[in-house]
Amino acid sequence: MKELYRELVTIVGQEYVSDQPEERYIYSMDPGTMPPAAPDLVVMPNSTEEVRRVIQVANRHRIPVVPLGAGLVLSGLSRALHGGIILDMKRMNRILEINEMSRYALVEAGTSQGMLQAHLKKHHPGLKHSAPDAPPVATIAGNVSIHGSGHLSHAHGFHSDMLNGLEVVLPTGEVVRIGSCATSDFWFARAPLPDLTGLFLGWAGTTGVITKLAIKLYPNYRINDVGVFVCEDPELVPDILHRMTGTQMAEDITAWMSPKPDWARGFLHCNINYGANSREELVWKRNLIRASVKKYIDRKIAGFMPLPTAMKAPFLDVPGRILTRFADVRKGGGFEYVGAIMPVELFPAAYRQGLEIAEQTAVSYSLGARIIGVNHCMMFFYAYAFNRADDADVARAQQALEETNRAVVNMGGIPWKAELPAQKEIIRKMDPNMLALMNRIRSVLDPNGIMNPGNWQVD
């Protein structure tokens, strides 16, 4: 290990390598419920070349490598399950190019959501990217690589759908450009070449290290508004969402159901965010959205909340802070959630399941669903808060998460960014040929098995 340490120092500099207990402690866990798994070293590269050299060294020593963004995945995917090196990518946070005409941003993998947002606001105010509701230090690469979703996902899909190209360092040390950037100076699309980006999306860092990526940007509307549509019957929700999404007027549609505040308990809210460049356009969009659900309004069984401007503000915040603040509901700094990617028609069953599990496990919960595409699917989230200073409370949340993962898989959904127990559930149901193909691909890309080992493996 001393030799490894020295080699890493020669690559990134003494300041950016640590084998100290403090770093090993903090980097052993994320703010979720998964137990700690400490690395041997934390390394912070500043360039693709440094990443390449670190990977080569790790291969030679057969030491695991775990790439890390902001560590906010909450399901413990960036823990060093088998020790080794945690590669903290956040020094590589340069914004390399904003292409206004083709509307894309080329960034280093450690670039945070917040910094890109701030950069666009100042230098390219007509453009925005789709930000998740994670805190603004969350990295763009981290979120894209786990098929994240956010404020433009109803209009444009998963964040991985918005990807134009990647630069990755393979587990064997080669640097590869994927997408149009493989043959062109422009990072404009993944088509028409064979789309190899799929080898690095949803793989929990087990196939290589993303060092650069280009993501699509979208027009930033001058005026933005939100409507909150409320009903009491979950059976209505799939049709409500089908109708609203069918107008294709909104950018983001997210349902939420929470027992707190008290006035929200038992009601299902659909937040519809939309924007326009003029008041006339905004009103026109609003009217189309309203007209799509008129049948429910006319029957008085659902309606839009009358929200004064001040009350709309939290729903217009990007990223929204409401979910982050859920962590203090138990005065304990913790929450974790199962994000179930599933078809929208499963909404009522998913909702009822969430209520049942919450009641059985007595956890503090919040439920919701972000719509992906034109009702193509949803990311239904079951968020459970816990007090990390209370082991029993943590255990309750863990139990709720495990039961939720199981229930989701049984229902026909798939937990997103699945933690280890959930991975096992998914594998249990997965087409064995798919799993076999995954293993074949990994064995080719990572013959020494150094990339984030322990994930997506059969016991």
């Binding site: 009903c231 009491e232 009601f267 609003r286 069984i301 309606g303 004064p308 401007t309």
Partner: protein
């Protein structure tokens, strides 16, 4: 219990049917208006029940003070003609429910009743409110808003407890028998609505504007005239107590502002529109707000003075976007004293 006090015969014999004929949102020929009025009296379905936007104005228009609007609300509830979707109504009922956390406190005159607007307690400051006590909270919420939701039953259920709370937790043991209502709606509740439902109110309510006018007299040497043109946004609740309108001009004169002459003022005032949005009538709300704001802007107002916090929350941003400064009446007086 707490039946609405009105005389149906007055309505039967009414020749002018002002309540419907002067309505700003429904158009009638006189014969039709009378026919619809008869249906309301008889408890039969009437399009008035579904088309009423609950602006309260007919309470002012009726020359006999026979509570035409409260009658409409009674029938809406009886016939389940709901102005606002059920889930929205249920949420509002929960939001505004008394929390039961009130504790006794000694107060002294003047007692400023902030109803359930804790975010506005900062208005009560300085010499304008010297030595004032302040009461606020869900347990003293006036509950008049349920008129907008077709829920007289909720008023009957909750208002007596609110009156009791104010009297027993604050006023009685402090030896105080009157309070100043910061919000027009509270003043309307305790002086008009409660008696109409046969509820006894053991304390006297003073309208905020009467209080402010007296304070301005007391502090007249400290007033620096503002010297601006202002528009006044008259709220729906003031329709219940139109006799308080002269205080507006009185205060404006004392603080040195000129009330612009405009179309949608005084008897022709427009609702802020927030209630229309609850009723899912967005296009009507847009129209009413646009006309109201165009009117203020055309008249050259530099300030829009609000009486009602809900009007302020609803229109404040839109007013500001027009270059007009939104301000509560109380804060306008503070401005003159700075």
């Amino acid at each position: 219990m707490n039946a609405l006090k009105y005389d149906p015969q007055i309505c039967v014999q009414c020749e002018t049917c002002d309540c419907l004929m002067r309505c700003q949102y429904m158009d009638f020929e006189l014969a039709e208006a009378k026919a619809e009025k008869q249906k309301i009296l008889a408890g039969q379905p009437s399009k008035v029940l579904s088309d009423c936007v609950t602006c309260y104005a007919c309470e002012e228009y009726c020359p006999a003070d026979n509570h035409p609007f409260y009658q409409i609300v009674e029938r809406q509830e009886e016939q389940e003609v709901l102005p606002v979707p059920i889930p929205i109504t249920k949420q509002q009922l929960r939001m505004m429910q008394a929390r039961g956390t009130i504790t006794p406190a000694t107060v002294n005159k003047p007692v400023i009743n902030m109803c359930f607007f804790p975010m506005l307690t900062g208005c009560v400051r300085g010499p304008l409110y010297e030595n004032a006590s302040l009461i606020v909270g869900s347990d003293i919420f006036c509950n008049i808003m349920w008129l907008h939701f077709g829920k007289n039953s909720v008023i009957r259920e909750r208002l007596p407890r609110m009156i009791d709370n104010i009297w027993n937790f604050y006023l009685k043991d402090s030896g105080v028998k009157e309070l100043v209502c910061f919000h027009d709606e509270c003043y309307g509740t305790y002086t008009r609505l409660a008696p109409a439902f046969g509820m006894t109110v053991p304390f006297k309510s003073v309208h905020l504007f009467e209080y402010l006018s007296a304070r301005l007299d007391h502090l007249k040497d400290q007033i620096k005239p503002i010297g601006a043109k202002v528009a006044y946004q008259r709220p729906c609740s003031n329709r219940l107590v139109p006799e308080t309108q002269p205080w507006v001009d009185d205060i404006f004169q004392k603080v040195g502002v000129e009330r612009v002459e405009r179309r949608y003022d005084r008897g022709n005032a427009l609702c802020c529109g927030q209630v229309f949005r609850a009723q899912q009538l967005d296009e009507l709300a847009d129209d009413v707000q646009q006309r109201n704001l165009d009117d203020m802007q055309k008249a050259g107002a530099a300030y829009c003075v609000f009486n009602c916090p809900v009007c302020l929350f609803t229109l404040g941003d839109a007013v500001a976007e027009r270059g007009i400064f939104p301000i509560l009446m109380s804060d306008l007086c503070q401005l003159a004293l700075e």
